[in-house]
Symmetry: C2
Subunit: 304 residues, 2 copies
């Protein structure tokens, strides 16, 4: 039996819709695989589909098993640590852990890009379209940029003192939340907005490379996707103002939301104060939230 763990993640980071991802050590999914029987079976104590064609990890393993023509069946045991439906890369974490565990079970020696590709099939099931930002982060760790034609993951180690805080609101989210929140994004974008997002995405990468957390914070701006999703998170402006007052360098929606993530220089800012400010922001709108202070995480790996 092989067990692998993969971290939660945040996608987009403001301007980088479907391009940027960052692995977060806030929480982890754990997936064990063991050769068993002649098909794919799944067990879990969590409230997730156990039919393998409807389960993120099951879909990933099914695809790998078919591609590598592996005859024996497999039993998959899933322990969810990442809350599903809140923009913390929950399905991506299961997919990344499943791809990593199964690859190790059969010594497939897959590259991180290949693991990302397989994990992406699992994402497709939950989001309705393949996007690799969360899975690339969960597989590779650190900060990632994704090219899709062809698939390529560029991986950077974020600054050591970069600290984050995710606020996960206690609200109900629609069944196919990612699909719904992708549906509100405009299909056509004015050229001036393209230029603005490219400028922020570029300077965000420069900040990651040079360790300039203030520049990272200033670059968490998005004039394309956030305006279309803002109505889904009415507390966002409040949270942003309060978190920045508490020392955050910048605040943005985590993935498709409804979680919100703040970035700060942990060497000069108390991240717990930032978290309390975010709690107050949601509180002003009568919403409770869970606070996850975190750092960038390593990518998926096997555990004992």
């Amino acid at each position: 039996m092989i067990t692998a763990q993969a971290p939660s993640s945040t996608a987009n980071l403001g301007p980088g819709f479907d391009v940027f991802g960052m692995a977060l050590d806030a929480c982890f999914d754990t997936v064990s695989v063991a050769e068993e029987g002649s098909s794919i079976t799944i067990s879990s104590d969590d409230d997730i589909p156990l039919e393998y064609t409807k389960n993120t990890a099951g879909i990933v393993v099914d695809m790998m098993r078919t591609d590598f023509d592996i005859k024996p069946g497999v039993h998959i045991k899933i322990r969810k640590g990442v809350p599903a439906g809140y923009g913390m890369g929950s399905s991506a974490a299961s997919a990344a852990a499943a791809a990593t565990a199964y690859s190790n079970l059969y010594n497939l020696n897959l590259s991180l890009t290949e693991l990302t590709r397989y994990a992406g099939y699992g994402e497709q099931a939950s989001a309705g379209s393949i996007h690799y930002d969360n899975v690339a982060a969960s597989v590779c760790g650190g900060f990632v940029m994704v090219h899709t034609k062809p698939l390529r993951v560029i991986n950077l180690r974020p600054p050591e003192n970069l600290t984050m805080c995710v606020a996960v609101p206690d609200v109900s989210t629609p069944e196919k939340k990612t699909q719904v929140s992708r549906g509100v994004i405009p299909e056509m974008v004015p050229l001036c907005d393209v230029t603005t997002n490219i400028s922020f995405a570029s300077s965000l990468v420069a900040g990651m490379c040079t360790g300039d957390i203030s520049l990272i914070g200033d670059s968490l701006q998005d004039v394309i996707v956030e305006p279309a999703r803002r109505h889904m998170i009415p507390a966002l402006d409040d949270i942003r103002n309060l978190a920045v007052s508490a020392g955050a360098a910048g605040v943005t929606i985590s993935g498709a939301g409804p979680s919100v993530i703040a970035f700060a220089d942990g060497s000069i800012v108390d991240i717990d104060s930032v978290g309390e400010a975010m709690r107050e922001g949601f509180g002003n709108h009568d919403i409770n939230c869970k606070i996850f202070p975190c750092k960038s995480a390593k990518g998926a790996g096997t555990v004992q």
Copy 2:
């Protein structure tokens, strides 16, 4: 009398339309300013307008003189080294040199961002809209990313071994070339193309920061502006293929064209061979060209 020199530059670098610029030591404009009379007069041996309201350097100096309420007039002497109308940032070089010279004449102690802002007014006269990519590069040197609201220039030093080659075709260009070539760009962009350009722009910055010239070359891709301008440079695909065969890491249109620029790792590639390949590419379309092998330049500065 104060004399300043400012380098040629390339804008866009593939995916970074109106955002990316790089100063090039291929050629320079030189602008001298001296207090004289009570208005602005201009002299030059080059074929440029000498009326200050129609001259890039004159417009810049006029704006600074007004803003700082400087009563005495000034004589501006301009020596053009950067060929105008070919995508090498000719007007930006004059504007940057003028802003730098005039700022020094009156010890205005302007920041690089302020100098960029003034130089931008000169660009506006030639391009029909303010864009800061070339002027920021000419003022600051190295590789720049520009935010516009508010204006902010993020400046990176490119890898030491990054070498470039500009091929300037011997073709006539329209009077208001930049304005014309901006006119062909679509005003609305499909979201999937936005994502693609953001991914390439981001990885180009990562390549600049980490010294990965191969990644820089792979990232010189643009699915928004280049497809709209490609018909203006029919030799582009030929040049690209030949230059890459000669060792270039990547090739793109320089600014609004019609010049083409190749990027290479000068420590392992003979840039003159890349230049000859580019010459052959234009030659296949019966076009002669001048070849400028170059490196990243320092920004505008005073000279004796």
